[in-house]
């Protein structure tokens, strides 16, 4: 009984101690404090790898009155959920907030919550710093520039040389150009491949469909933010082509980035793959050493070119130091800095000067047969002529409507039933 008294007192004491420690020890300051002597605190939020670690240290060195906190989240999902929560709460966002291209459509109609970078950013930072389509895609639906472009994911086509050879299809760089010259040619080659080997041509219908839709002049939403699904011939045509290919057995029916998809690389489950620049690393890691030299990448991409991925740096209105934040973001997205980030983590630059730099042009990949990937992807980036407008809900339609619907088709749902699912789902999102 005695010791219980002691136990309880001990417990209470520990609680008080813990709470005190917590109160004192919890040092993290919130975004944007202003200390003494003009000391400015900035915070920047990123996800996965932007390659900014050394750059931040350098910026602090160049600007001794600025202290930067880097808020890094491993995965994009939790990161964007955090972003949305704080947008909803009205506080807590960093001074510089990275937003991925796929999520940009989430904020495109909330431009009022973000600063217009042409107003608060350095005056010498103009549109010609970036590829035109990248710059345009950083604007909100009112035409205000709310994001400085960081990196991009120009599309190329990866293919298994050995599998194509075994099927009697050309596998040399010149030969595959014919195979991949257009989507019709691509799917026709797929039919041939299936006929000769009985094995799938590509990994997932959704991957190809997304690339195809991205190349259209008008995407899921038009400039008035109206749904175009039922009147957009490009989308329906892409849908028909892809679902026909699935019906012909061309799809390995794997869900991109799922467990089985990763295994699929090892198991040589498919022969071609849409490859944005960042996918090269993924292919290499998933396919492993056993398949080294078997994968190749070509700049012959059906429809010309395209882009998947990339991000922007935004400065929310919540920031207490918008001007300094914009300067910082502008510095980070300058060609020199982006090249350093590219060297560190492989994020492909979107800045025109960076694309012509020798450092980029000389970049090769041993895994892909020493292909000159820097040059290749720079070319692919230039092939993209315009930014497709991605209205509010665009990203959602792709993630939650068309991709699952194509999955359903791969799982056996009839294509027209799945199309109805797409239309219903998209209407619900855009209502």
């Amino acid at each position: 009984m005695r010791h219980l008294h002691k136990g309880v007192s001990f417990a209470i004491g520990l609680t008080v101690l813990g709470a005190t420690l917590a109160a004192c020890g919890g040092g993290g300051g919130s975004a944007g404090g202003s200390g003494d002597g003009g000391q400015i605190e900035l915070s920047i939020g990123t996800f996965t790898e932007f390659g900014y670690e050394d750059l931040i240290t350098e910026y602090e060195r160049l600007h001794p009155n600025i202290k930067i906190t880097h808020h890094k989240t491993g995965e994009g999902g939790p990161y964007h959920q955090n972003l949305i929560t704080k947008l909803a709460a009205g506080s807590g966002l960093e001074d510089v907030v990275a937003v991925e291209e796929g999520h940009f459509s989430d904020i495109v109609d909330k431009g009022g919550k973000f600063n217009d970078l042409t107003e608060i950013g350095p005056k010498d930072v103009t549109a010609d710093r970036w590829l035109n389509w990248k710059y345009e895609a950083g604007k909100d639906s009112g035409g205000r520039l709310i994001g400085y472009g960081t990196d991009i994911g120009p599309l190329a086509m990866c293919y298994r040389k050995d599998l194509l050879e075994a099927a009697g299809l050309p596998s040399d760089p010149e030969g595959v150009k014919a195979l991949f010259s257009s989507w019709d040619a691509y799917f026709a080659a797929g039919d041939q491949y299936v006929a000769r080997t009985g094995k799938p041509w590509f990994d997932s219908a959704g991957q190809n469909f997304n690339a195809m839709v991205n190349q259209l002049d008008v995407g899921y939403l038009d400039r008035d933010d109206k749904l175009t699904l039922e009147t957009n011939p490009g989308i329906k045509s892409a849908w028909d082509k892809v679902t026909t290919a699935v019906a012909h057995g061309q799809s390995a029916k794997l869900v991109a980035f799922s467990n089985e998809w990763k295994t699929g690389f090892q198991q040589s489950a498919f022969a071609t793959k849409t490859c944005p620049s960042w996918m090269l690393g993924v292919v290499e890691e998933n396919a492993g050493a056993a398949n080294a030299g078997k994968w190749a990448v070509t700049d012959a991409f059906p429809g010309g070119g395209g882009n998947w991925g990339g991000s922007y740096l935004t400065v929310p209105k919540q920031s207490r130091h918008p001007k300094e934040a914009a300067e910082f973001a502008a510095w980070l997205t300058a060609p020199e800095q982006q090249l350093k980030a590219f060297a560190a983590k492989g994020n492909f630059p979107s800045q025109t000067q960076a694309l012509t730099s020798p450092q980029l042009q000389d970049e090769t990949s041993a895994y892909f047969g020493d292909a000159k990937i820097g040059q290749l992807y720079a070319e692919q980036a230039r092939k993209v002529t315009k930014a497709q407008y991605k209205g509010p809900g665009d990203g959602q339609i792709q993630e939650n409507v068309t991709t699952p619907a194509l999955q359903a088709v791969e799982q056996g749902t009839p294509a027209d039933q799945a199309w109805q699912q797409v239309v219903d789902g998209a209407k619900k999102i855009v209502k």
């Binding site: 219980l4 520990l14 109160a23 996800f47 996965t48 709460a89 990763k262 090892q266």
Partner: protein
């Protein structure tokens, strides 16, 4: 004397062994991957024995994230939350179970009903509240919302209702004990098994909490799950690194659980 019913035979041990093996499997598997290479995951026939990489991967974990700081924060948060939850739940549970007061039934039902509210959207208003209080970024933002839970109160009340007979309480009252003295001398010893297990649950839940700390804490003040999540950056995740991290992070839970479980026997004497 603690008489447990029945003498366990072979089948009992067999059944328990199967159950525990199935429970343990993910931990062993995590250790397996952590001691080898991520490429092991793609192999059709996975290996069954650990490799030699564990310490190397563990060292990488320490390099990649502020492991000790995050661990310390998690210990503070989870430790505090566990202590307060058990204590306050026992207090409230005792009051609802054994003390008569106006409104006891409606208040208790209210507490149970709050459990039914889905919490996914709550992060938004909760963050607003924390920001208003100026706690965003500090550990109290993670501690205070979890100081006492409806789950704990509900459980303690159900447990105390039967585990502490009225006779004992009456005896204590007759002896002149104050209510608090009764609580400490009669109730606390009697609820040791439930308190120990509630401590285990609360500690584990707090230790593994991810979403709320992600939203409300800052990067220089992470808990262990936040620090580990940073290991998953990049389009290609190095699972041997990530699972090395989670294996390391599970060790404190095992320690706390074992200590709690060891104390989850009823006290030998119930009389004060």
């Amino acid at each position: 004397m603690n008489t447990r019913i029945g003498r366990p035979n072979f089948f009992v041990y067999a059944a328990l062994t199967v159950f525990v093996l199935v429970s343990l499997f993910p931990f062993y598997w995590s250790f397996l991957v952590a001691s080898r290479d991520t490429s092991m995951l793609s192999e059709h026939i996975p290996p069954l024995l650990p490799g030699g990489n564990f310490f190397r991967n563990a060292a990488r974990v320490f390099d990649a994230v502020e492991f000790w700081k995050a661990l310390g924060n998690s210990v503070i948060v989870s430790g505090t939350v566990t202590l307060t939850t058990v204590l306050f739940s026992a207090l409230a549970g005792f009051a609802f179970a054994k003390l008569r007061f106006r409104g006891s039934n409606p208040l208790f039902v209210f507490i149970v009903v709050t459990l039914a509210v889905p919490t996914q959207l709550g992060v938004i208003p909760l963050f607003i509240a924390m920001a208003d209080l100026g706690w965003a970024g500090h550990l109290q933002a993670v501690i205070v919302p979890n100081l006492v839970t409806a789950f704990g109160v509900f459980w303690m009340r159900q447990y105390i209702v039967d585990a502490v007979p009225y006779e004992l309480i009456e005896a204590a009252r007759v002896d002149g004990c104050s209510v608090f003295r009764t609580f400490v001398s009669v109730v606390l010893p009697a609820i040791r098994p439930a308190a120990a297990i509630l401590a285990m649950f609360t500690f584990m839940m707090s230790w593994n909490d991810f979403l709320w700390p992600l939203i409300v804490l800052n990067p220089d003040n992470p808990t262990i799950q936040l620090a580990l999540e940073r290991l998953q950056s990049g389009y290609y995740v190095d699972y041997s690194l990530v699972l090395a991290g989670t294996t390391l992070a599970t060790i404190p839970i095992l320690i706390v659980s074992s200590c709690s479980a060891a104390r989850s026997w009823p006290a030998s004497c119930k009389a004060p």
